[in-house]
């Protein structure tokens, strides 16, 4: 058994980490912090954990983390994470960070898209981008893993095979994503008030969402060329799930049949346990991955316009955040990649 800590235990990604870690056979939750609820038990804040996880929440003090802890999950708000991570690393703790603080290699992009100064630029070179389907090797050896954003996860998994094969005409790429409301976090706000959210569908931050540079950084790396995409997120009246619909054309002289595309994806994800390339007649649906760590993928060819359409579905809190963080932990600690994560969504 390995001892781990969760910082920011009462937010949605913290809750989901604890739900999943509780079922992990090789891990012991030995420290949970919460700024807002320190002194209460987790079950007092979130009664679904009664009889399961009743530990008392601690104030966020790095020294208070027990000596036995080997790995820390930071589920803190953007900006707060970078304040605590250096102290964690200096205590020789390994860190999976779920914030955006270490995802962008170019600090100036952080400044621009997050409207604040990048809080710990000196750690950016070391941080490993934690998408296990692409970077399992570096993740295994990493001290600091930057867990990807929810939208980038859904998009990168959908595009990686085509990107790495050098097939995409990047001028043509459009990403239209739809997310459930839990992606906005746990703090109540007017636009997430139930009566204003149910029976409603809308776009937001059109062409200016902060996950855009993260997608572009990773797509550029895969493609070996500078990539720009148009990205539009939408809010759907559901709690969990992201569906991304991605439109693109192949490079001028490239042509692929739908069968060839499926074969390319099948080969690329051959050894990736959480990628499910659906049978050709099926399309992804968010409920099929709800509360699970799978990413479901389909491809379509619009023969009339020569366009390829890639569709992906994930749960934003699981594969899009906490499930992926545990997948990273499994790799870092030498556990089987699927340990504690091999279950299906319910109805």
């Amino acid at each position: 058994m390995v001892d781990v800590a969760v910082l920011g235990a009462t937010g949605y990604t913290g809750m989901e980490l604890i739900r999943l870690l509780h079922g992990h056979p090789e891990v012991r939750l030995s420290f949970l912090s919460s700024e807002s609820s320190a002194g209460l038990s987790l079950a007092q804040v979130h009664p679904q954990f009664l009889k399961l996880v009743e530990q008392v929440l601690q104030p966020l003090e790095v020294e208070a983390i027990p000596e036995t802890v080997k790995l820390v999950f930071c589920a803190l708000p953007h900006g707060s994470s970078a304040k605590v991570v250096p102290a964690l690393l200096s205590r020789s703790l390994r860190v999976v960070d779920l914030s955006a603080d270490f995802r962008l290699k170019d600090a100036s992009l952080y400044d621009r898209w997050y409207n604040r100064s990048c809080p710990a630029p000196e750690l950016l070179p070391e941080a490993v981008y934690g998408l296990p389907e692409l970077y399992a090797g570096p993740i295994a050896a990493a001290r600091l893993v930057a867990n990807p954003g929810c939208f980038p996860t859904s998009v990168l998994l959908a595009l990686a095979p085509l990107a790495r094969a050098g097939l995409v005409d990047w001028e043509t790429v459009i990403i239209d994503s739809k997310t459930g409301v839990s992606g906005a976090g746990r703090s109540p706000k007017q636009e997430f008030h139930f009566p204003e959210c149910t029976e409603n569908f809308k776009a937001y931050r059109v062409a200016r969402h902060q996950h855009t540079p993260e997608m572009e950084q990773e797509l550029s790396r895969l493609a070996g060329e500078q990539v720009r995409v148009t990205f539009t997120p939408h809010l759907a009246p559901m709690s969990r799930g992201i569906l991304s619909t991605i439109y693109l054309k192949l490079k001028p002289r490239e042509r692929r049949s739908l069968e060839e595309l499926y074969a390319l994806y099948r080969e690329f994800y051959r050894s990736c346990p959480f990628i499910r390339l659906l049978p050709e007649q099926q399309l992804p649906e968010t409920r099929r991955v709800r509360c699970s760590n799978y990413c479901d993928l389909s491809l379509r060819l619009d023969e009339r316009t020569g366009r390829i359409i890639v569709l992906s579905a994930i749960d934003n809190l699981t594969k899009g955040a906490s499930g992926q963080a545990i997948q990273n932990m499994n790799i870092m600690l030498g556990f089987p990649e699927t340990m504690g994560l091999n279950f299906s969504s319910g109805l």
Copy 2:
């Protein structure tokens, strides 16, 4: 007072016609037909009409329509409509048809996209495409109005100003639409069973939805050139509403600022009472148009990729079907265009 008839009164578009016509100050509902529920009162089938519309539903027999009726709304399934419309016209009745049977001018497109033979090709030349913002003149004089599909309504209103100005590079146009479940009609099916629909988001009929040729026909007519688009519909876990997110680039040498684009739209829709070009800082939300006849529009410029994004929101059963049908009736009968339709959505 003008007498009207509704054929197919118990389906969702029929219900919505009756809800709206009941509040219309110059119209009397004098004949309601229903194949499945003939002999029952409308309120027995749909108790929300108790004390409001309690007429008995009639079998669908053209001869039974009272002499006083001037205009008939056909809210019948595709294929059934074309069987009854010729008899209506030969009785000198004017018709607003809500099916797809008369929308496509090229019968071979109907054959291909609807997987059956176009049922009344001889009437296609006469039928007027009932989008009042574009064709008020012909609608006023028409015997037979083909009421547009819900997705085409949301798309054509979003693109018409750019299309008619000849600005669009049609190779680049992608239409990503999201609809509520009432668009699928009233018959229960596995995929619309509540537990399989709630907390779920998915695409369907990707690049092969039957509304595609309808959009292309009308966009081609507006643009004066042959147009092809990529269109993907999605199903959102809500009852009513369509949000369309449309991506495009202008023709190679065209450039417009966002202000110029807003000005173009403002001018184009100057005298259109149901088009609401939102203030620049706002974006359409389906709940703002729920149960109302408005179409809300916004424009965005993705300066990094040179792409324009047009967003539109309508209620699929109102502006996308029955409200628009009544708007057409108002024009045909010389009533003010907004009569019976000038109300807002509720919360």
Copy 3:
């Protein structure tokens, strides 16, 4: 045309008042106040009113209400209403107040159940309880109408015929009500945050909800005896609607068949246009009254236990608040009771 004012125009009951008053043929909205959004137009705050109601919101100053105004709707929070109503009355304005400030005749009940001191006890004798099905006469003559709470409306309409007939064994009465989330108002709170509300059902304030004494006051008045009830409200994952399920036994020697009970209700509500006693085989559903002013009622007899079950459905914002307020206005101003309110719910 009569000029009216709405104080508190941007909350949910204010919004609903404006939606309905905009469609009223004899009323002109001539003053809208909002503390939080003064200076903005209503449509800036609630874009569904674009092109419909674009007036500028005013600060809440009684002197600023135009001379032409005859009647004021107070849609202010509990406590705030009582601060402004005396000034309105002294300007000879007639008032329909939607808060709880004037509903209870016994000020000490207000103190106890609302946890604060009754703000204007001197006006309680004059205030008329605005349930038009029971008190149309006094309402017609009233200066100050206290519009009933949403739960009491659903309960009193369900029980009034039995109560006035003196048939009820009040010891046995249990009221189990279920409401949509809009009943909680427009301010975002943790428990009404979309992800914590959707796919959730719960009871709240069990046996201590502040609408209890209001129900008891009016039931006691109807029954001519002191009445106590057990009342439990529940929160359902929907925006609008209240369903109340009410259990009771008749007095020891009373016995009525289901037919006799239906006959009693039919007679009692003979001239009440918004009460729909459903056909015996049907049961109320909240969607049948959504956004409408109807109250749907059914009765059932549990022959095995000798219990009567009365079920009622209303829309909490319409018949449970703003629609009823307009019904009161119609009576006060001599308009037909249904004017501006005779429409059905949509799908």
Copy 4:
């Protein structure tokens, strides 16, 4: 590892059994039957099982069940189950049956409440009612366990401590339950069509639901006297969950403080791992038990009327069906009661 079979694998309770059994460390799914989908793999019918459970579904033939199988879950429709269970027992298979066919000890009650003849009355004496919190001993030894209905589970767990203590005045008991739509099963029907279910709340089968005699049978057994209750089920716009609100008075001379009641419950459920008596200031919410096997309980005292209110929340498909069936299996096979079931709901 023990081999088990699931008959009726594609319905909602079958799906939930497989979801849970897949995560059970001591069980192997070795036979799955489906009449409607035999020959397909489970993952073709329910893609959420891709990469997890891809077995081929078999026709329902008892002889085809492998010799190694020790225990069979029957998740067949009422009536179908009784046709196959005798053959299973004669093959010495132990059975947990999720239908209603073996729950009622008095066959005439089945006839009356299910409107058909009890299909296997000869097995009723042997069948053990599978509520583990009450009957763990007989369950451990049973050949045939009749898994309780979802509503009875939520009600019996709420009332058992009071019933067995002989405290309840049964004349006063009223049960008002609210369920999610998955309780109605997987077959699409008009009333469960998404647009007619969302934003809707209603009662159904008032005072005549077929779970009533099951509750009464078990309450009578607990109380040692003949018990009659009034039971009203309601349909809430959510997929999963049951909340039961139960009203009662104690016997004339009995009086208990709220603290005494909590103590009684705490003692009664001392060794029951899935019963969570909530802290006094909390109330059950269905989302806290969603997809989990817990039953959350609270008590309230309405001091003004002398009534006790018991509230319980379960997931209808887990503790109300398939989770409880596995809990029974654990007891029958000598596994720890919580094996494979000790996880919390997600957000």
